[in-house]
Structure formats: C-alpha cells, structure tokens
C-alpha cells in the first residue's frame, strides 16, 4: 500500500488506531478484573481497640489538629471504680476531682457520683484531644473500658490514613462504611 493514497489509510493513521485500541483495552478490562473486588458503599478508617497499644501516636499523626481519633467510654465494661486508673494520675495522694489529680491533660473526663461506691466517668468529646493517656491507664489498671475510636464527624477519610501509617501495632483498619465503629462493649449491650 503506498502512502498517501487515501487520506485515512496512511501508516501513521494505522498506528494511531491500533494504539487507541491497545490503550483502551486494559482500561475497560480493569473494571471487569475488579468486578468481584468492588464495594459500592466504600470503607472508612477505624481503630481496632483490641489491637491498640495506647501509644498515643494517633494524636500527633492525624492530618487534622486536633486529631480525629478520640477516646470513647464503653460504659457497660466499666467497673465504676472510685480509684480509676484512667481518671487519676498514678500515685495521687487524695482521690478527688482536683486538677492536679487528673490524668487527662485537657480535663475532658468528668467524674460523677452514682451510688456508694460507684462513680461514672464521661468523656467530653469536645475537650478530648486523643492523647490516649486515660486509655493506657484504664488498660493497665482497669477493665479497658476506655478505648480509642476515630470519630467520623471529624475524620476526612483520607485515601491513605496517616495515623494508619504511623500506628506501631497496625490497629487502624479499613471497615465498611455501614458499620464505622468497632465498639468494645458491643456484646454487652443487653442487660
């Protein structure tokens, strides 16, 4: 075939057409290949509290300041102790709500008397900065009812979660967007 005989049958045109097909084919094959590995609802990031080692990296490594990860209290796991490892600093002289006795640096935990000898501890999410100090205290000395969770009203759901990258115990996992929290007291909900 001689070049230029027909405007649309030159060698260059042929190369272009073939290239077009070669390039388009894998693009259309990708959805086919991924058909089984696709989720319509997507996923969000969450801290697996059973893997968490309370290192406090998620306070500093989140792209948001303050971090999207905050402390959550599983009330049904709590012992409602007077001497609370999550509320009081280690080695306090008196058990009271005085600021110098509190472990939480932002004073985000409120302590309320319920009945003798029980006290209720509530996290104020607005004050909590996700330092995980109380979580560590509770895990070391208590029932482990305080735990870290990524709060999805704050989380921007990065494609590459930056606290997942820095988590030393690989505790940050992708979970289905339909059930975005891993609640520690899930099985204990019924009385």
């Amino acid at each position: 075939m001689t070049e230029g005989k027909n405007k649309y049958q030159t060698r260059r045109d042929f190369v272009k057409k073939t290239g077009n097909i070669i390039v388009a084919a894998p693009l259309l094959l990708i959805p086919v290949a991924l058909a089984k590995k696709m989720s319509v609802s997507g996923y969000v990031w969450q801290i697996d509290p059973f893997k968490c080692t309370q290192c406090g990296q998620c306070k500093t490594n989140c792209v948001l300041t303050p971090s999207a990860s905050k402390c959550v209290h599983a009330f049904r796991m709590c012992g409602y102790c007077d001497l609370c490892g999550g509320y009081l600093r280690q080695g306090v002289k008196t058990i009271s709500t005085a600021a110098e006795n509190q472990l939480c640096p932002t004073g985000a935990i409120t302590r309320k008397f319920v009945e003798e000898p029980y006290f209720e501890y509530t996290i104020n999410e607005n004050l909590c900065d996700g330092c995980a100090k109380c979580v560590k205290g509770c895990a070391d000395f208590g029932n482990g009812s305080l735990y870290m969770q990524i709060r999805h009203d704050r989380c921007v759901n990065c494609n590459d979660c930056s606290i997942a990258r820095s988590c030393p115990s690989d505790a940050i996992v992708r979970v289905a967007a339909s059930s975005p929290y891993i609640q520690k007291d899930k099985g204990k909900n019924n009385e």
Partner: protein, 430 residues
C-alpha cells in the same frame, strides 16, 4: 517406679491440662475485666455514646456526577467554545469544590494506588467511586485529550491559577525532568500493589493547603512548588504527577483534541512562544528540512536499544527490590528486630515495643518479611521493564521528525489550558 506410673496419667490428663491452660490464657488475653460490672441499686441507666457516621455514601456518587459534569463542561469550553476565561472559571470551581470543599480526597491522582492495590491484593475491595474517579478522566483523555488537567483536577487548578509569569526551561532540563513522573508512577504502583504505602497521597503537596492543616514539611514543599509555579508553570503536573503519565499516554491517541487555531493554520508563528509547557509542536515542512542521513541511523540505533534498556531496567529494579521493600513497615520492623539481636542494644522504636507486646513470634515476622520481599521482587521487575520501555520509546521519539504543515499542540503534553487561543490571529465569526 513412681515416675513410670506418673507418665501415662500425665498423658491421659494432657487434654484437660491443655484445656485449663487455654482457659487460663484466654482469661489473661480477654480478661481486662479486673473489676466486675457493678449492680446498681439506685436505678442508674447506662449512658450511651454518640457515634456519628461519615457523610452518607450517596455523596460520594454525587462527587462522581460532579466530576463527569465538570469534565463535560471543560471539554466544551476547551474544544468548542475555545474560551480561556471559561477554563479559568472552571479551575476556580474545581479548586473550590474538589479542593477546598471535598478537601482533596478522593482524587483521580491518588486513585491509581487504590486500583493497583485492589488488582494485586485479595484483602482489599476498592470503593466503586474510587474506580470511577480513576477511569472517567482517562476515558475523557482518550476521547478529547487532557481536559481533566485543564479545569477539573484541583491540583492542576491551584497551579494554573497561580502561574502568572511563565518562563521556559531549557530543553534538556525539561526532558530530564519530565522523566521523573514515570519513576514516581512506577514506584507508586509498586508500593501500592505490595500493600506498603500510598506515596502519592503521602507526598501530595497541595492537600495541606486544601485542608489548611498538614505536616510542616509538606506545607513548605507545597508553598515552594506554588512559588516556583509562578515562573515554571504547573511544576507538579509536569515534573511529578504520576496520573499525568497515564493521561499523557491516553491523550496521544485522543480522537478529538484542542486546536490552537479555530480554522486553517497559516504558519504565522505567532503562537510559537505561547505555550509555557513547551507543548506546541511547530510546523515542519519539507522545505525546512535539511537532508540528514544521521537521524535515520540514530533512529535505528535507538530502536534496537529499546529491548536492551527494557531488560536492563527490569534487572536493575529486580536487584533493587530488597532496598525498595524498606518502605514496607513490616520489613522495617523485621530489620529493626534483626539489628537489635545483632547489636544487643534494645530498640526504642514504638513498633518494636508493640511487636513484643503482640505475642507474635520472630519466625512469623521473618516469614512475613520474606514473603513481602518476594512480592517486591516480582513487582519491581515489571516496574523496571515499564521504566526501561518508556525511556527507550522516549529516546526514539526524540529523533523522529514528523512532517507537519501546521502548528499543533503536542497531544501528550498539552493540558488543554487554552493559553494559546489568544495568540492565533485567525478568528472565526459565526
């Protein structure tokens, strides 16, 4: 004798002992219930936690719809309306919506990693919206050129809007720098497919600006890129963007593409200096061409070099695999543990502490490390082949001279930004 009698009893009781041990161990593992749950008498009601959900999943598909609409409008503005002004407004919209409102996630640039992670890992399911964000701009590139870059990509938009004083870089520097995105893409796919890291997201320079919050180093990097972008337009798009490589390849086969002139090119050469991205290929007719036997020889030489470069690229990256696998956190942890054993100095890394607390054995960890390195060897070979092949083809394309009778945008490099429109003296009134 007693001893002998004891043994069978031990053997008989072994399952029971093991079971008791298991129960004990289980209570240690699960048993943070040091204090029993109190039985309240005062009628205390357990408080409940507010667990706010993400914004509804339907919004992600709204983003996809916005993406498609933005692409259609940009295509119309670039190819039909030929309005630079319109494209600028489109950039403003995308910057505000995809950038500042959606805070840059998910973007098409990063979705490359989701796709490669999903393709090579069974444990990961890709969100459909991420897949759509990956494919739709490429389909548009295949049909109309890089309209995605022109007015839809928020990263492109922020640079397009800040590129005030375009300067041209020397050709050699330009060619060397444009090879960086290929390496970036190859590494990004390599790291994502081995489930190690999403480097494109991690080193996204402008996401900190969209969120008004980022690590200090990334803010500095982003600011420096924007500052240099005032003079060297779109530095990220040209010298870093990995998705741009794909768009570049796809756009070369575009069915329709933006044209500099609305009608017939008269070779007036007024647009010659118009493009800050060096994406205008000048007319090259037979009259200007000197008779040179050299290019043909060079062409044959480079063409024969392609397989050689490809294979050596594969070999080099294959041998680099253990080094590259250092980006994987498991491999890093295993190396740290090995170093700790070798030197006898206890590591202070939090990962090491967490590993020791986790109860995983070192053999398990080292086995996992070996598996990951093997994955890296398998994948990096292909990354090397891709890099070698693109280098080879790039070298060949340097010596190819096309016969052209008009000034045309280079289909691969052109961002369809429309800066050249105003340089063309031909106006069509209809």
């Amino acid at each position: 004798m007693e001893h002998r009698e004891n043994k069978p009893r031990m053997k008989k009781n072994l399952p029971v002992i093991l079971f008791m041990l298991f129960l004990f161990w289980h209570s240690v593992l699960k048993g943070q219930d040091r204090f029993p749950r109190p039985e309240f008498e005062s009628g205390y009601v357990y408080a409940t936690n507010q667990m706010p959900a993400q914004r509804a999943g339907a919004w992600e598909y709204f983003d996809v719809v916005v993406l498609i609409c933005a692409l259609i409008v940009t295509t119309w503005l670039a190819l039909k309306k030929r309005s630079r002004q319109g494209l600028i407004w489109m950039s403003v919209f995308s910057l505000l919506y995809f950038g500042f409102y959606r805070q840059g996630c998910i973007c098409s640039v990063g979705s490359v990693q989701n796709v490669s992670l999903a393709l090579f890992n069974d444990g990961y399911t890709i969100p459909l919206s991420a897949l759509l964000f990956f494919i739709i701009p490429l389909l548009f590139a295949l049909a109309f050129g890089r309209v995605f870059c022109a007015g839809v990509c928020p990263l492109g938009a922020i640079q397009e809007l800040t590129g005030f004083k375009p300067l041209k870089l020397p050709k050699t520097i330009e060619i060397v720098l444009t090879s960086v995105p290929f390496i970036y893409l190859a590494l990004a796919i390599l790291f994502a497919s081995t489930n190690s890291q999403f480097i494109i997201c991690r080193y996204d320079p402008f996401i900190g600006i969209f969120r008004l919050d980022a690590p200090y180093t990334m803010i500095v990097f982003g600011a420096l890129l924007l500052l240099s972008g005032i003079f060297v337009n779109r530095p990220y798009c040209r010298y870093l963007c990995p998705y741009g490589v794909l768009l570049n390849i796809f756009s070369r086969f575009a069915g329709k593409h933006l044209t500099i002139t609305p009608a017939e090119c008269t070779n007036c050469r007024l647009c010659e200096e118009a493009c800050p991205y060096d994406a205008i290929v000048p007319a090259d007719t037979d009259q200007d061409r000197e008779v040179q036997p050299e290019p043909r020889k060079q062409f044959i030489l480079y063409f024969l070099l392609i397989p050689l470069i490809t294979i050596s690229g594969g070999i080099i990256l294959y041998n680099l695999a253990p080094t590259l696998s250092g980006v994987n956190s498991t491999v890093r942890l295993a190396r740290e543990i090995r170093l700790e054993k070798m030197t006898g100095i206890e590591s202070v890394l939090k990962t090491v502490t967490a590993f020791k607390e986790s109860g995983k054995t070192e053999t398990e960890l080292f086995a996992e490390e070996g598996l990951i390195i093997r994955q890296f060897r398998k994948a990096s070979k292909w990354a090397g082949i891709f890099l070698g092949l693109s280098l080879g083809i790039g070298m060949v394309s340097l010596v190819i001279r096309n016969k052209r009778s008009e000034y045309k945008p280079h289909k691969g490099k052109c961002y369809s930004c429309g800066r050249c429109f105003k340089y063309c003296p031909i106006k069509v009134t209809s």
